[in-house]
Structure formats: structure tokens, C-alpha cells
């Protein structure tokens, strides 16, 4: 049973990007209500806390709690809000949709969040590849300035705010909070040592909050319809609100789907309102539930699998960016792991030893196995390398993300790895498809 969409309510409508259609749909009324209706920043933060909204970027940290980490006394420093629109996690494409189709929804949430943070300058760090998204967003910002929703003394409330679109230039790691901050400062996007955390010392040495696009969209709705309304959506109060799921891979109808947090994985894959089952009637072999960094699940594990923070944590994986990548029975798991390892090897920033040296090593060994040059000891070696890289021994979580697909695929498909090593090839998967083209 599909519920009424919240975040995607306006997506697909004609001129959904334009401010006039947004206003006609009641847009910026929430901003007016909050800014001119006697709300204090503290009350806004409290409302967001009460809603149970957890960050939609990957880590799932409670948004209101994060805002609360900004020191009361900022010692004369401004507070910055950064919208993380660097959507780069393989399998994830929800923020692109939100920005390209309904930019004002995000912008209203961003201004509301800025008000709560007493922040007068915010940036949208949008990945470089989103040329179109950046243009749509810039147009929306220009419209918002024209209509007085941005700039000096917004709606006569005395609150002023400026938003700037800042384009990245091709680096996955800039989706990591402190990598993003470094990049915004005009540096290489190498994550920082923590502590201090960004809420205390962030961009330009000032307290900084980084929130994901979808999170900011949710803020709009929390304040529009109330924390209680938001908290009631979803499986429970710790996994609340509407959620966007990015479904891709071997399903009949991939796409971005909105559902209350905690949608069953099987419903997403097979439901008529969602994926409508596996392409060509093949069977599910594995599912990556939260983007490339999340541990793979087997077909057995997707039974009774609520797609939310705690549901996936219980399966030793994670919701991450809610990118559900479905692989059918014809998929070579070694090939898939090699592809993911290549991604992480290419995107490691290179500062921490285990990650800089470990990610290419994993990729090389996997490539060898995939190419039919695997050795008996390779599978164990992959596990050892991974264990040496992980468990938080690096500056950021990238290394832990990089090993998740390797360890989970080996753990769950060990026989297939063995088969690959012993028989020097695999007869299924995209590699076989490439060979068919080149034959």
C-alpha cells in the first residue's frame, strides 16, 4: 500500500522547479510562519529534535542533536550551514532528483535550518557532475532572493541569510563532512583529524553544520506539519519520517521511491508501487542496501528486512544513503566486488597509509582473481588486508566503507570466490557480457 508522497509530492509536475508553482503549493509558508510567527531558533531545533529526524546522508545522526553541538557562545564567529549535495555514493541518485525537480523544497529547509542555527551564510556543496542540478538550484536561489526569501531581513523578520552554490570537481571523499569542508576552503578534499568536530571548528575555523539535501527537505516538512506528524511516519520513533529509496540493478522498475521509513526490502523490490520484481524473472542473488559502502545481503537476508537505520544495522549492514542495488543470480560476485574495489581505490584521498596502500591492493588481488589468476591463499589474504584497514584505524570512515563489500561478499559467497580461484573464471556476470561484445 503506497502512502501519499511528501518529499516527492511535487516531483513530476509541470514546472515543479519554478517558484510560482512552489508558492502555489503552499511553498515558503512554513518559512513565513517560523520567521514571523514568533518562533525562536531554539524552538525550531527542539521541533527537529522531537521529530526524530536522522541525517539522510549516510551516518543517520539525529539532525536536531547535531545542531545542538554548536556552542552557545561562538566567540564572535559566524555559524555556517553547508548543504551536502555531493551525492556520490554508488547507487545513490535521490538528491539529484530533489534538486533538479524541487529545489525550493530544499532551499526552504535550508533557510529554516539556518534560522535555527543563527547562521547567515550557507553553501550548497554540489558535486561537479551536477551541471544541470547546479543551474536549477541557482535559478531557484535567484528567485528566492527576488521574492525576499533570501537576503537581508527576510520577510521583515530581521533574519538575513545568503546561500551560495559551490560546485565540486570530482572527488567522492568530499561527501565526507570534513573532506567537504576542506574542499570548500579551496583545498584538496582530505578529511580532517577529529576532534575538533565541525560543529565546533568547521569551515573557515567557525562552527559548521553539514546536512544532506534530503535532510534539509525533511526539515521543511517537520516544521510545516509538526514533529509529531513526522515522528509517526515510519517504523518507530528512532526510524521516522518519509524516506527516499534509490533502487537500481536487476529489477524491472529501478528508480527513486518514497515510503515511510522502514519499508520492507521485499516490498521495495517486488511491490507493484516500487520495483515490480526481478528483470526477466531471475532470482535475487545479493542486495547492497545502502550504497557501495554497505555490506551486501544475500537473498535469504532480505526476508523481513525493514529498510531503516536499525533494521539494517541488525543485519550488520547499514541504510547509508538508502541506495539499494540488486544483483541477480547471473551476477558474478567477484566481478561486483572488483568493481566496488576499483571505485574505492580510485577515490581514496591518499593521506592515511592503510587506505592509500590497502585500497589498490584489494583491487589488484580481486582483479587477479576475476581475471582467472587467483591463488588459493588470495581469499584469506583479502580478508586479512581488509581487517588491517578497518575498525576505525584511519582518519575517516572511507577505509571501513571500502572493506565492507569485500568482507561481506567473501563472508557470504565464499564458495563462489573459491570456485573462481580454482576454475580460473566465472561463467556469469557483466564480464561475460563484455566478452560477448568483444568476441
Amino acid at each position: 500500500m503506497k502512502s501519499e508522497p511528501v518529499l516527492l509530492a511535487r516531483v513530476g509536475r509541470e514546472r515543479s522547479q519554478a517558484i510560482d508553482t512552489y508558492l502555489a503549493d503552499g511553498g515558503y509558508e512554513t518559512l513565513r510562519k517560523v520567521l514571523t510567527g514568533g518562533w525562536t531558533p531554539e524552538a525550531v531545533t527542539e521541533e527537529v529534535k522531537k521529530s526524530g529526524l536522522r541525517g539522510r546522508g549516510g551516518a543517520g545522526f539525529p539532525t536536531g542533536v547535531k545542531w545542538g553541538f554548536v556552542p552557545k557562545d561562538t566567540k564572535g564567529k559566524p555559524v555556517y550551514l553547508l548543504c551536502n549535495a555531493d551525492e556520490s555514493e554508488p547507487g545513490t541518485f535521490k538528491d539529484r532528483l530533489l534538486m533538479e525537480e524541487d529545489p525550493h523544497q530544499m532551499l526552504e529547509g535550508q533557510i529554516l535550518s539556518a534560522f535555527a542555527l543563527r547562521c547567515h551564510t550557507s553553501y550548497v556543496y554540489i558535486r561537479g557532475e551536477f551541471f544541470h542540478g547546479a543551474r536549477v538550484l541557482q535559478r531557484a536561489i535567484d528567485e528566492a532572493y527576488e521574492k525576499g526569501f533570501l537576503g537581508e531581513n527576510i520577510l521583515g523578520s530581521g533574519f538575513s541569510h545568503d546561500v551560495t552554490v559551490h560546485r565540486g570537481a570530482g572527488a567522492y571523499i568530499c561527501g565526507e563532512e570534513t573532506g567537504l569542508i576542506e574542499s570548500l576552503e579551496g583545498k584538496r578534499g582530505q578529511p580532517r583529524v577529529k576532534p575538533p568536530f565541525p560543529a565546533v571548528v568547521g569551515v573557515f575555523g567557525a562552527p559548521t553544520i553539514v546536512n544532506n539535501v534530503e535532510t534539509l527537505c525533511c526539515v521543511t516538512h517537520v516544521l510545516k506539519r509538526g514533529a509529531d506528524w513526522f515522528a509517526k511516519i515510519g517504523r518507530n520513533e528512532k526510524n521516522s519520517g518519509p524516506k527516499l529509496y534509490c533502487l537500481s540493478g536487476h529489477v524491472n522498475r529501478p528508480g527513486v521511491y518514497e515510503a515511510p521509513m522502514g519499508l520492507q526490502m521485499k516490498e521495495l523490490l517486488f511491490g507493484d508501487d516500487y520495483g515490480r520484481g526481478m528483470k526477466d524473472g531471475r532470482k535475487v542473488k545479493a542486495v547492497i542496501p545502502g550504497g557501495a559502502s554497505a555490506a551486501m545481503l544475500t537473498a535469504g537476508e532480505i526476508e523481513d528486512c525493514p529498510l531503516d537505520f536499525d533494521g539494517l544495522a541488525a543485519k550488520k549492514s547499514m541504510l547509508g544513503s538508502a541506495a539499494i542495488i540488486v544483483m541477480n543470480e547471473d551476477t558474478c560476485i567477484v566481478d561486483a566486488a572488483t568493481n566496488l574495489a576499483k571505485f574505492f581505490s580510485h577515490e581514496s584521498c591518499g593521506q592515511c597509509t592503510p587506505c592509500r596502500e590497502g585500497t589498490p591492493w584489494l583491487h589488484r588481488v580481486l582483479s587477479r582473481i576475476e581475471a582467472g589468476e587467483g591463488r588459493a591463499e588470495d581469499v584469506e589474504l583479502l580478508e586479512k588486508i581488509s581487517n588491517q584497514m578497518g575498525n576505525g584505524i584511519t582518519l575517516c570512515v572511507f577505509a571501513d566503507a571500502a572493506i565492507a563489500p569485500v568482507l561481506s561478499s567473501i563472508g557470504k559467497f565464499r564458495d563462489e570466490y573459491r570456485y573462481h580461484v580454482e576454475n580460473k573464471r566465472c561463467l556469469v556476470g557483466p564480464r561475460a557480457a563484455v566478452e560477448a561484445v568483444t568476441a
Binding site: 572527488a171 584538496r188 583529524v193 581505490s345 591518499g350 592515511c352 596502500e357 591492493w361 588491517q388 584505524i393
Partner: protein, 556 residues
Amino acid sequence: MSAPAPPAPAAPPPPKKDTLTIVFDGKPIEVPPGINLIEAAKLAGIEIPHFCFHPRLSVVGQCRMCLVEIEGIPKIQAACTTPIKDGLAVKTTTQKVRESRAANMEFLLINHPLDCPICDQAGECKLQDNAFGYGEQRSRYDERKRQYAGYDRTAIGPHVVADMTRCIQCTRCIRFCQEIAGTGELTFLDRGGRTLVWTHDGKPLANDWSACAADVCPVGALTTKEFRFRRRVWDLKKTPSVCPGCNIGCNISIEDRDSVVYRFLPRLNPAVNDYWLCDYGRFLSESLNAREISKATVREGSDVRDAIVPAAVERIASEIRSTIETDGPSAIFFLGSAHLSNEENFLLRKIADHIGCGNRDVVVDRSRVRRMKSKTEWIEGDHAGANYAGARDMGLSPGPGGHGLTDVLEGRWIPQIVVVADASFAAAADDAEKVGRLRGARFLAVAARTANSLTRAADVVLPAASLAQKEGSFTNVQGRVQWFQRAFLPPPPARAHWELLLLLGVALGWGDRNWTPAAVRTQIREEVEGYDEVTEQELAGGGLMKKGLFVSTGAV
């Protein structure tokens, strides 16, 4: 009835501790606040292996070698980035720590060429040391190693040669150029496993301290052109000394083998040069090997004959004695040097005093301004001699009614005898006009190691020692008195300047041939204002500011 007891005085607040207690492997130690955990461990006698951490560079936490366990934190932590606080309990020897270090070593070595047999860093390589101390015997890496083709064996500046394939991406060199030199020539290029250190578009790494980038490099990725392939470092003997390059007086180690100086390295002194040394001073090391005056010579008419040193000294003494008889002591001129030690300049002045001569001076040999960053401030030097301040302190200025060097050079006064205590460095020594003025004297005596116009003009030349061949003390531009030790003996018959001066003093009836520089320092302590607290212990411990004579150079 007695009056009610006065209220008990409030319990005094607990004394505010100005140190923190850190417990290393169960052993508590008091450390000053603000210290890095790696340095705190060092105070406790515990080595936490590391690569990217450097006490004077920003903490980046990148190499992940300094992993330790902290009580109360489940995850293993990098010591360098762990905020220090009172009561912190650190475990450095657990199995988890050992395994993590070994794992990190394996990662560092998989792409390292392991070309230690042809690498100049071998023997002072942190990678080698830590591999030995914390690594496993075998690597499981069996893939092709990374190579940075075109970035090896390449000079990236006038002094520094890069072998990027050896680099472990610790960024110390980058941070040195950014944070200490302030020139920022180096950067990371590319990213991930392809990250390398280079300059923009191959521009030279050329700043006044560029070789420090090689010093801070923990591996053989940056080495100096001058030292490359010259000696295995374990063959070299280190002797504490002071840089002869200018009056900042940077602390150095002279490294020699078989009486040949191979290099200078900076020797830590936070108050002066900290961990650094400028390229100019550093590469003066080779000049210490020059030896052009290897025996004493005496001019007899138009002939220059070899002589034994005592005979040559006696010749000077006899000239002085006869001049005193004919023209009095004021016809004699003693020229000290900013390149000579306090002890030597003191001896020269005492000889002048002994014969009652007030004509004494040092050469004012200004150089371009050189800059050095101490732990807290920039220091500027502007004299070519390391001991200009000390030479003046020892009294080498014209006495009352006496003449100075400018009187001679400007032709206002022609002495009968000129004694130049060190001709090797004097700026005047190759200036024909100035030499001509000095040569205007009836008799000219010099001590020297290298030949120049002045030595060629002299009547008596005494073979003198290099900096490496003698001990003594210099007083720098801050007024800090610093000790330099002898690395090796001068080749006979050459002798330290102080020995030559003592021979002369004894020949003139003053002093004791058995005196050592330490004995001379005892006299300096007694006689020279501000030097009374400069004890031998203080000298051995990094030098001491002269009392009341501190000259702040100010932060730059």
C-alpha cells in the same frame, strides 16, 4: 568563658597542578600541558613509532603508525592526534597495538622499493628502523610495486634530490615548506595510491632552508645532492658543533670519517635553530676539508722557507720583543677574528695586554641577512663570522688611545708589526688594497688554513686548525655562549689557533702551555663581564645567555 572559636579557616584549595599525569603502561609520569602524546611518551622513556608527526609541524595524523590503546576508548587511537588530558591511561605494548603497527608497516612497505643497499637514508631511516622494530619479517604483497617513473633520481632544487618511489606520503616536507619556510613549494599531486609529492610544474624547491625538507623526510625520498652516495651514515661520527656560517650560531653536528667532514646536520636547540639549518651554513661543511697551509713558513729576505711551528712562533715573538724595545708596544697591532672562539680571541687580547698594547680589533665582516626560526621566533644574523659578538666581548676593540683596523686600512696609522690571528676567513684577506695596507707593516704574521693574498704577503704563516679540529665557544647574536667540540685533530704540524696563541704568549712570557680551552674559559668567567655564569655544564647543555646581555632580535 572563652570567646567562641573563630571559624576554622577554609581549607586551602587544592594546589593547582601545572603538570598533567599520564599513565603509560601503568607507569604514571608528569608532563607539561600542551605536549603531544608522542613527546609525552618520550619523556616516559617510551618510544611510540611514527612517521608524519614532527614536534614543530602541524599534526596531521596521516601515517597511522603511532597507534596506541587509550583506556576507556574501544577503538585503537593515533597517539599524535589524541588530546592530552590529566589521568589519560595509555597502553603501548598490547597485542592489538603490536598487530596494528605490524599491519601499518606492511602497508608502508608494499610499494616501497626496499633499495636500502643503494639508499643514502639507510641507517637513519625511520622506515627501516620501524620495520626492524615493529614490522613482520615477510610481506604478503606479491603484486607489482608502484613506481613514479620520471620522479626518481631527479633534482627538485639546487640541493634536494627526489626519489619519489621511496616516498611514504607523510607530508613532513610539504609542511616544512609551508609552515616553517613559508614558501610552500611542495604539494601532494594526484590522490589515493597515486599520490606523490612534487612542486608546481617542476619548479625548483629553492628556499634558504631547502635541505631541511630532506632532514624531515623520514625515508630516502628526499636526499641532498651534496651528501648523496658519499658515505654510509653509520660510518660517520657526530660531533656537536656550531655553524660557522653567520652569527646566529646554529647548533650543528659535524659528521666525519677518517678526519674528513662529510656533512653538517642541524642539532636541536629550541632557543636558536630548533631542528633547522640553512642551506648556506649546511653546505659550508665541505669547506672544512680545505687545507692549503699545511706547514709553518718564514720569509727570509725574498725566500719563503719551511719552519717548525715553535721556531716560527719564536720568530714572531722575537720581532715583537725587538719592536717593543725600539718603538714600544704601541707599534704593534693584533687582529682577532669573528671566526675564532672566545677562548682564542681572549688569549689574543691577553697577549696584547701583557705587552701593554692597546691596538687590537676584529674584522667587521657583514653578510647578507640570514634568518633562522627558533622554536618561538625568527632570528637574524648579519655577520659572516659566527663569533663577532664574542670577539668584541673578549675585548678586541681598540683600547684607550689604541688604534683599530680602520686606522690601518685607511692609512691613518702604519704599525710596525701586524699579528693576524686568523687569515682564512677575513674579508680583507683577498682585497689587494687592504692587504697592501696591512703589509705596510714591517712584519706581518698570520695563522691560516687556506691560502689567500694575506697569507702570501705574510712574513710568518702558521698552519691553523679548522672548526672541526678544535674546541671552543662562540657567542651568537642573541648573546648566547655555545660550545663546539673537536671532531678530530688537525694534521700535524697544524694546530688549533688557541694552541698557536698560547705558544706565542708563553714565548712572550705570559700564560701556560698546559692550558686548555676549558682553563681559558675559567679566566674568561673571572674577567669578562657577563660570562661569569657560563659554566662548563651550561655549555654542554646547549649554551647559556650571557648575564644581562640578552639581545632580543624580535620576531620577524
